[in-house]
Amino acid sequence: MYRYDEFDHQFVRERTIQFRNQTERRLSGALTEDEFRPLRLMNGLYLQLHAYMLRVAIPYGTLSGRQMRQLAYIAEKWDKGYGHFTTRQNIQYNWVKLEDAPDILDALAEVEMHAIQTSGNCIRNVTTDHWAGAAADEIADPRPVGELLRQWSSLHPEFSFLPRKFKIAVTGAPHDRAAVKVHDIGLRLHKNDAGEIGWEVIVGGGLGRTPMVGVTVRDFLPQHELIGYLEAIMRVYNLYGRRDNKYKARIKILVHEIGADKFKSEVEAEYARRPHPTTEVEERELARIAAYFAPPVFEKLPRWSASFEEAKLANPGFARWAKNNLGPHRVDGYAIVNISLKPEGGIPGDATGDQMRVMAELAERFGNDELRVSHAQNIVLPHVKRDDLLTVYQALDKADLAAANYGLAGDIIACPGLDYCALATARSIPVAQAISRKFADSQKQDEIGKLKINISGCINACGHHHVGHIGILGLDKKGEEFYQITLGGSSAESASIGTILGPGFAGHEVADAIETILDTYLKHREAGEEFLATYRRLGPKPFKEALYATA
């Protein structure tokens, strides 16, 4: 993992001191709310329905055990004992007091963390594949580039006041688990016939009120040109991106309005006249960073673990968890453990301080001291020996962390919605809970198979509903919550935006509607066909007919 150098430490420390001073001036009345709001937002502090909310950056979703323990400590000391892991691989605390916020930032700085660029019209926390460095299909670990981008973009003076917020996602694997096609910039690694690696640069994807899949502007950008090229993109956006209308200010609108070809030629022209054509500094820094991400020393183990196989035979609960929650590791004898934060009827992404500590300890004892936060609001232990899986499972089970639904109907993405969020138009969490309970039967979930149900409580789409195989959007209809259902979205390499199926539903009708949709799928699917494939083969018609037949 990356460790702060003296410069990083000083940078975060100075920022914390600055914010303490700003907070004191706000509390004393020296700063008005209008003056203070942008300052607190630059430090991740929002004002929500019930209290302040602090959004803490987890760069590229990577945490050490010590950092996770500190997150647990903050949850217990300054919040109400829990935190909420978000769809941007961050964590949010829902009950923060303004007067405590500087102390919390100090506590974060102690473990090399902060809340910078988790809000505002800047380059936000860079996200990556949560299986980075461990996945069997990976070409290279994308996190060194993630860290390079963090350092480059942190408080970058030219890119601190963009037309709108800006999100970058990076994947080093052909199977896209980082949703790179629906980010402002998505980077996807490729290897050519000569064995060289290069980045596909995708621009102009995004969700929100105008969902779009990004367009590729470079197929194979050499790694050392990355920063220079991204700077060219940012300059074109900074110059031409609209500032007159907040809803048309994202780069996706610019790319769409002037067209991909024109946008691309503007970027290439900007890139050609870049002021610093040499990339020596970036290369040196990337090499320095990459050393921190050197793979752990893996033991030489057989692919087949006798103890693991025996444990599965003896323990059906463990067997089911192992079938659903393990990912293929690139090293024999190891597995990727996906900890579902989606217990039956639970709140997606919430974890208590105790649960955080259990996960931290498991990472320290069995997982090379590494944890990841996934954009699906789960936690990953990327490197666990197969021989240790039963012990890990038993510890997770004791802490109510062993839901065996990773990637299934119960593994629902949901934003905080109207239960917490000041922007929300409807609640998300109760809908997620109702669906989770509806499919509590594990056999039914296994029968349905791979499925992504994503729920947002407003058009801003923090719950990624547009790219859910089944997407649910909560809206306000004359003071009442109602929910639109979309089908056929995907954030994977064959990304697509879901299509609205028909008229919306009241909150209490949604879980039944989802059941009808899934029953229709089970009736029509071909052998081995996943939900998304069936939908893509058949289109919305049979689902519409089943859902609105009686209407």
């Binding site: 302040y52 009950w95 007067e99 109207l418 239960d419 609640r427 969490i429 919550e481 909150g507």
Partner: protein, 113 residues
Amino acid sequence: MTTTEKGQLVTANRLRDGIAVFLTRGGDWSEVIDEAVLALEPQAAAALEARARDDEKKTIVTGAYLVDAERLEGRVRAAHIRERMRALGPTVRLDLGKQSEGKGAGFAAPEGE
């Protein structure tokens, strides 16, 4: 016979901790929506809002605004679900927020389900 008063109240977030609060007849801010003063006509509402702006300047509260509400048998019900939620706490964590501290409103946030 019970009477229903319809009007507007002022709500805000307390500056130092962000807790949702409601302006009372005495000019204080209460965490309990039932203690809110209800303005029954526009002039009274404007007066309440002006008082809230003063308290914003005094750094007591922030983000004050008017909300449609009604009083039934001494309990206050905000018209919009969002405001009923603020007067209670999250509906998915009944153990948290005002509802868990005996300061919750008398009307459930979601109704008609």
